[in-house]
Amino acid sequence: MTSGHVLRLRSVLAATLLSGMLAECGGSGGDDATLTPGTGTPPPTTPPPTTPPPTVSNLIEDAAMAQRFLSTATFGGTQAEIDALVGRDAAEWLAEQFNESSESYGDRIWANVTVEPDVFFSARLPSFYSNDHPSSLFWREAIGGNDQLRQRMLFALSQIIVVSENNFGRDRSHRFAYYMDNLYLNAFGNYRDILEDITYTPIMGDWLTYVNNRKADPATGRLPDENYAREILQLFSIGLLELNTDGTPRLQNGQTIDTYDNDDIVNLARVFTGLVYDRSAGGQGWLRPMIFNDRQHSEAEKRFLTTVIPENTSGPDSIRLAIDGIFAHPNVAPFISRQLIQRFTMSSPPPAYVERVATAFESGSYTAVNGREFGSGQRGDMRATIAAMLLDELMFAETVAGKIKEPVLRFAHAMRALEIQDVVPGNENDLRDTSNTLGQNPFRPASVFNFYRPGYVAPNTTSGAQDLTAPELQIVNSTSVIGFLNFMVDYVFDRTPNGGTGSFAVDYSRWSGIADDPTALVTALDNLFTGGRLPDEAFNDYVDIIDQMPLRAGQANDPIKRIQTAIVLVTTSTTFATVL
């Protein structure tokens, strides 16, 4: 291996493995202090434009602003988090989140492993794995973790660089965790590093079938597998059409321009030949970058986009040069920025907003209104990109078209705001697979094309008539709306089969003092879940519904039923389904 990026990530994980397996799990892995800055593309000869200085203050003036900001930057705020943010500058909160300690998913798995490594990697431990599979671990952190922004970024990146846990048995938690860690540990790093590191992960090699991909064989006519070559370009980096910095397609004589053709794919496919699992360390090879079987790496010239990799270039050098070539494409900034915006703040971002964020991606730096600086100055810096996205003037405007929250965000938000106790997803049968109940399971989309497409426009809707993209509406239909409603009822009314462990319990006594005052109750919940944005008509309807619910003498549960019903109403409201 000659690639610094790969060695770096491998070193983090190897250290994790040692410390996590044999010593106490210390949560050391993953802090960016152990990551060297990206050394991707050489800086352009002319300095790139910087994002114009923002003018709209990021000061959080009131609880409604705080609630909205936390809905974009976290899995949703608790009442205490909302209150604590009022009067602060969001840039300062962001700086804190960038420095929040993190614990790799690998560590989280090792923390539960009580056997020696040899046993761990030779035996299947179904009871352990079935409870603590990666999406289960993710639920715990999304709901209960402090590194909320990093977890949101992990979920966002997992919807751009997609691997589906569906394809991998739950006895392979450690392999999937390694993929997650490539996104999670790099979440505040550089996008170029993400691209190169992910290319070496064994689970991606398996998922997109380029592990054991062999060079062409003239004798049998065999040619290299084109799968990864195609998807790394189409989905992970540049997309199909040349873009302006604002994310709109470039036009030539009124026509869009393809970024590549099939010859590019056939050539790039040669780069991803010769990769094999690292079997030198037994099962631990799943936690290491793939390595090269040099004899199966194509010696042919690889010519794609504007890159030419000469004949007889080694595998690691070919990948490094290929990632350099892909990452240098001007599409990367708008292509990735627009999708990140869709996952955090707006389902259909206006081009000017995309351009501001893409410019921060290009320059690698962003300065907030209060002077706080973000980013290393390297193109592709994720901190600069995230800061530009979350602190943008649009997000601090009075009203904004906003984002439809996908079901995972809605459920996690509800659980956080309810401050559920004993967040042990492994005990929750209802969280084993939420694909057909909640309508979405994190890390388990049907294919590499994610749960929905960034360009989806919903038919026969007002947003569709306005040509607004609405990816999240692609999974809304007559079956899924009822599924979501029932899912919320199960959790709010504590009907989830959890083996009597009491996990995911809600303390409703918070509101028992106002159960007999429907207006006060709905107001409190409206403020908590939507920042007080329920329309008057809905608000009044909810008050009326709660008001007529019985409060019978000797029926101690009647006040709780009022509270539970009010929570179900607010969390299934269309206001809660969106970030406005």
Partner: protein, 473 residues
């Protein structure tokens, strides 16, 4: 955005026409409108990922098979080594003996043993094979393709774009599918048609069913879902003291509740309210469905077909003389381990389709139902070791009591990847039949007039035939 306005407009037009003495010309128009008599349903079975056409219909005469085997030697070795895959040896292939074999000269075909249920339907005349179907703007040759002359569909070989192109004749972002367009035409001809159940998906939202007028209804393998807080009286309490609450909650969730003024929130509101309302209506009809003795599995692909069969079993109560259904099965993107992955999928799809046929026969609906297959694309004839890569044209099945079966329609290519049938030497098949011709043939049976089919299928005029002949009209 529902079609109510248009329907009201049509009704008003009829009334005005009658009153104003314009009836003769209107009747003239009616005569040219879609035939909506009786009941008919189209069922699209989509193979997500792109099924390998070269492992669906395989050349079986010695000379053709020899060329075929030469181009995918590694893959055939993998099949031979597989413990689960059926043999791909020439003489082990199930012979396909089409009634129209004469048009293929000495060419002989075979099916892999995994598709034996489909060979039974083929031999009984209940299924046909359409060879070389794919998206086309106009007929095109390899010479034109290589020279960059001639118009080709955008983003060939890209999964999502070619799924969209098969379904909606344009790349991702297209809003209206040809299933939806067919129903739009039907709706315009029959204003009394109930629109809630005309486009039905058992496989999530897909552009194929989207029309400019009709909503799409999603069915679940488990039957129509109910809102548990309302139907399970134990949750709030069995006491009648909570009946008013339940009634108010139902009204809240089914009404077009408060507008927020935000476009996304209000769209979500509409989808939620309509979804719950229509599901409740379907649940009432579904409750009285007949019991099917044909057993379709409760999981996976067959469960989708079962949900379709159940809805067709209550077709008389849907007030919908035409329906388009969508089911899908994924996993066909067999870049690797094709011998292991594809063969299992083939068994699943073939068994499922045969059982669906049995259910339709049991319901007396088989003559009124036509199932057809579709996919992102075919795959390369040339292998990559143990799999195949993205192609273009593919071979597809049409099954139903009204199919002119036991025939192979369209074209079947020679296996010379350097020959005129392919875009390049990897063997990506240039379609000989366009998706729009395939669709038009189905549309003709469905009751659409030639003009309506041309309106729904904009490139149809570029091809010599708008009816491939595989349906009994």
């Amino acid at each position: 955005m529902r079609k109510t306005n248009r329907r009201q407009f049509l009704r008003q037009s009829v009334a005005l026409a009658s009153a104003g003495g314009l009836l003769p010309s209107l009747m003239n128009q009616q005569a040219l409108a879609a035939d909506t008599s009786g009941y008919k349903a189209l069922v699209c079975v989509f193979f997500f990922g792109g099924i390998d056409n070269n492992d669906v219909l395989i050349p079986r005469d010695a000379a053709s098979y020899g060329r075929f085997a030469n181009t995918r030697a590694n893959l055939l070795t993998a099949y031979a080594a597989s413990a689960t895959a059926g043999s791909r040896e020439r003489l082990d292939l199930i012979p396909v003996n089409p009634l129209n074999s004469g048009v293929f000269g000495g060419l002989e075909f075979g099916l892999p043993e995994e598709l034996e249920p489909l060979s039974r339907l083929f031999n009984s005349g209940e299924a046909a094979i359409v060879g070389g179907v794919g998206p086309l703007i106009e007929p095109i040759t390899r010479t034109q393709f290589e020279a960059g002359t001639g118009i080709i569909p955008n983003q060939l070989f890209s999964h999502n774009d070619q799924q969209s192109t098969w379904m909606a004749l344009g790349t991702e972002g297209s809003k209206i599918g040809w299933g939806g367009r067919f129903m739009d035409q039907i709706s315009q001809s029959d204003p009394s048609l109930r629109d809630d159940f005309v486009g039905v998906t058992a496989a999530g939202n897909n552009v194929f069913l989207n029309g400019s007028e009709n909503a799409v209804f999603a069915i679940s393998p488990n039957g129509p879902a109910s809102i548990e807080l309302l139907t399970n009286r134990n949750i709030l309490g069995s006491s009648s003291d909570f009946d008013a609450t339940r009634a108010l909650l139902e009204a809240q969730w089914t009404a077009q509740a408060a507008l927020t003024g935000n476009v996304f929130a209000d769209d979500y509101r509409d989808l939620q309210a309509a979804g719950i309302t229509v599901t409740e209506q379907y649940a009432e009809i579904y409750a009285n469905r007949p019991t099917l003795s044909t057993q379709l599995n409760a999981n996976g692909f067959e469960a989708q077909l079962r949900a379709v069969a159940e809805m067709i079993s209550v077709r008389d109560q849907l007030n919908t003389p035409r329906q388009v259904y969508f089911v899908g099965i994924g996993g066909f993107d067999t870049h690797a381990d094709q011998a292991g992955r594809l063969t299992g999928l083939q068994r699943t799809l073939a068994n499922g389709i045969e059982k669906f046929r049995d259910a339709m026969v049991e319901l007396g609906a088989w003559n009124d139902v036509t199932l057809f297959t579709a996919a992102d694309f075919g795959r390369t004839l040339n292998d990559n070791g143990d799999g195949t890569d993205h192609g273009w044209g593919g071979h597809h099945f049409v099954a139903g009591g009204s199919v002119r079966g036991q025939r192979v329609y369209g074209g079947f290519p020679d296996s010379d990847t350097q020959g005129p049938n392919y875009t390049d030497d990897r063997g990506r098949l240039i379609p000989s039949v366009s998706v729009e011709q395939y669709a038009s043939t189905l549309g003709a049976w469905f009751g659409l007039t030639p003009a309506e089919r041309r309106a729904a299928l904009p490139n149809l005029v570029n091809f010599s035939s708008d009816d491939l002949g595989f349906m009994q009209l």
